[in-house]
Symmetry: C2
Subunit: 305 residues, 2 copies
């Protein structure tokens, strides 16, 4: 089981390189990340976008004469997204990475009924950070801070399944899932605590498998065994959650961003639920984050194969 980001990178370097299709690749951060991933023997790429601009940017960034990747000339962003999606769909590439294009435009191509990467699953963002202070597994996932605004119970189950798939790719065969709220007791006025109780019972009854779910839990007792003990919470998840399922996009997004902007933790994230992993790094994400996301995407692909 992979318990740190260094182990994640080490594992992702094993085996054949994977191919990343970069949509609108004239983007410094995406090129820097794929260059690093290539040097580490992690990935190859196909770059979709304005070829001259991409080549010049790559040279400027790396000092290399030309990128060691195929470049496919596509002028317009929407067309670049479609072409990159088509490359993943055909199996030419295994991961889709957003370049200098709006997320909405890329997702439009991903979600296209005829030519996209739709499966019968809900898409969701699985965010993963490394928390140095944790006793055992230091990788904690937060979901869904990126796609569904206010998931209902059925959507939460799909969000959980997407996160479990990432946990499995990390070799964590039975991840512990904390269903978060502001409190650890069921309160009919807080719908997230109702969903938490229901999801826990569905897990008990075998309706959600390959994981251990408990909730409602507040963040303190999900993460800290001491806090759980002080509050007298008996739970197989409290104090050692691998996956934090948040009530909605706002709480998930803030919690994920707080690990960067308050705690300065390393992070990666991947959109799951499509037929191939989709990486939609934020413009404000670091190159390290983009590299970790590529490594994460590769492990998810390898697990599938």
């Amino acid at each position: 089981m992979i318990k740190t980001f260094d182990e994640l990178i080490a594992q992702a370097r094993k085996g054949e390189k994977i191919t990343v299709a970069i949509a609108a690749a004239a983007d410094e951060a995406a090129l820097a990340a794929i260059s690093e991933a290539h040097k580490l023997g992690l990935a190859d790429a196909i770059l979709f976008g304005p070829s001259r601009k991409i080549a010049a940017m790559y040279k400027e960034l790396t000092g290399e004469k030309e990128p060691p990747f195929a470049i496919r000339e596509v002028e317009e962003d929407g067309a670049a997204a479609k072409a990159a999606v088509a490359a993943v769909r055909s199996g030419e590439a295994q991961i889709l990475l957003k370049g200098k294009i709006k997320t909405a435009a890329l997702l439009k191509a991903v979600l296209d009924i005829d030519f996209g990467l739709r499966s019968n699953h809900l898409l969701s963002d699985v965010f993963i950070c490394e928390v140095p202070g944790l006793p055992d597994n230091k990788l904690v996932m937060i979901t869904d801070g990126g796609v569904t605004l206010k998931p209902d119970l059925k959507q939460k189950i799909e969000i959980i399944e997407n996160a479990i798939a990432v946990a499995h790719a990390l070799g964590n065969e039975k991840p512990r899932i904390a269903v978060l709220s502001a409190v650890e007791t069921v309160n009919p006025a807080l719908p997230a605590t109702i969903d938490a109780a229901v999801l826990t019972k569905m897990n008990h009854r075998g309706q959600i498998r390959n994981c251990i779910i408990d909730g409602p839990l507040a963040l303190d007792n999900a993460i800290s065994a001491d806090a759980a003990k002080i509050k007298g919470i008996e739970s197989p998840v409290a104090g050692r959650a691998d996956i934090l399922l948040c009530p909605d996009i706002e709480s998930a997004n803030m919690l994920a961003k707080s690990t960067t902007y308050f705690a300065h933790l390393r992070l990666g994230h991947v959109i799951m639920g499509s037929t191939a992993p989709v990486l939609i790094p934020s413009r404000a994400d670091s190159a390290d984050c983009k590299l970790l996301s590529i490594a994460l995407g590769k492990l998810v692909c390898c697990r599938k194969i």
Copy 2:
């Protein structure tokens, strides 16, 4: 203007001691905090609860023969809460601190129409943490992670006013308030972004005064000037928010707890909106947090006087 917790403690040590009424004072953490506050010349106390138990616990904790505070014998928790509230109401004490009693039981006494500490304001929790990496003011407030589950627009205004009162107590006469959501653009499907736009305009029109409000902002662009710049956000608040107004209790509670459990930041918090500051530390809060909360409560009182 007070910009760090060390400055907060230094300022709170000035002037006369304030008196803290502790409800159900047979509580180690509360006694440890008030003992430290007393040593620092910050506060005196009146301890309400089972007097023998309190005295024995105090001796055990501090090694001192007996507490330098008045103890009022009250056996039952609810009665201790009522007596402590009455002491604050009469002016004998200026701050109410929760001891070994459930928050709901203490708030019942606080909210009693005839004998409580009600004002015509909504109660809300103002959480404050010190973020060492910030360029100027390192004290960031998060609200409301403790009282109102899903505040509407009017309640958000009261929550803002309560936070402004704390900012003023810290000498920050025109705090910058970020109205948070998962995104920084208005999205009709995300009510928090609608409220954010409305609150910003109300501030422009002078309907909410003594502050600078902007939103919607996501956490990254509220806190980090770099993130705001990368996303091209022009805002008088982005990158330097003093107060983070969250959409609801879940997002606020998780964000506040993440500063402790992921980022290990120091914190204090105070419930505002009543006629006197009410301190309701969590059982899992540290003694340092309780001391900072007492210091914070004192500055809020001093500002009032």
